[in-house]
Assembly symmetry: C2
Homo-oligomer: 158 residues x 2
């Protein structure tokens, strides 16, 4: 096998390259984590444009309290995907705003119970229609069918 077999050499190279097409090629902009971060940023920005006086985590806490009623702080955190340290800060700020009130569990003295105040309930009821708009605007780049598929796959991923 001498250098006369030029086309055979080329074919071999093509095969090798076909096995490892991305050896030197890493495109940050195409990685799921990078795009996920950007999509999340965009959502937070849309949220802020519609609801200026509350953050998404604060809204989530109020919305979940509306669903389940009084719960312990950590339990609420697990319902809205926040660890103990994070949920504490969120609840502290909601308390300072008068949207939630805290009390001690009668039996289990470790637990800190959280509940909506009347003002907090008013706020979340008032904000839910805006939250629907936020969801709509976030999904606006997709058709209805695309959005449905996307939501199903995103849920699988999360």
């Amino acid at each position: 096998m001498g250098w006369a077999a030029v086309s055979a050499e080329d074919n071999l190279l093509e095969l090798v390259e076909a096995e490892e097409p991305d050896e030197n090629d890493y495109r940050l902009q195409e990685q799921v984590g990078f795009i996920l971060r950007k999509a999340h940023q965009r959502h937070v920005s849309i949220f802020a444009a519609h609801i200026a006086d509350l953050t998404p985590p604060q809204f989530a806490a109020l919305a979940k309290l509306r669903d389940v009623g009084e719960t312990s702080q950590n339990q609420l955190g697990s319902l809205i995907a926040m660890d103990a340290a994070t949920v504490k800060g969120v609840i502290d700020r909601l308390k300072a705003r008068g949207f939630v009130e805290l009390s001690k569990h009668e039996i289990d003295k470790r637990r800190l119970l959280v509940n909506l105040t009347a003002e907090g309930r008013d706020a979340i009821e008032r904000l839910i229609p805006l939250a629907r708009e936020i969801t709509q605007e976030t999904l606006a780049p997709l058709s209805a069918k695309e959005a449905a598929i996307f939501m199903k796959l995103l849920a699988k991923l999360a």
Copy 2:
């Protein structure tokens, strides 16, 4: 029209309810923003399990510098979706680690040029294979076809 027309009344109510099926119904767990936040959290967790000594934003900065070479701090920020305040902190920490070096632009004295050090280049080359695994693991709940569809829709959204 008296109260004899009971079934007609019922039909009317059904119609009204069909128009507004979710009047009192807001499911936080089904909102795109909430799930997006959880999916992002999951990705960050997977990232940390594979690459313990660098955060996703720090990795993004190194990967992008590898692509484009020396750039100004703000320009780098816009390439990886970070505002000026955020990118400064990321670059400061990468500089403290010896992964990037800073210099002043000769002509435009406002600009702060950022570039990889030899150590930074070694690091990013070493980490890219791990980053591929991170992407794979993040998308693991989806089939190859689902992942392709998801990435296309996610890109549209971000």
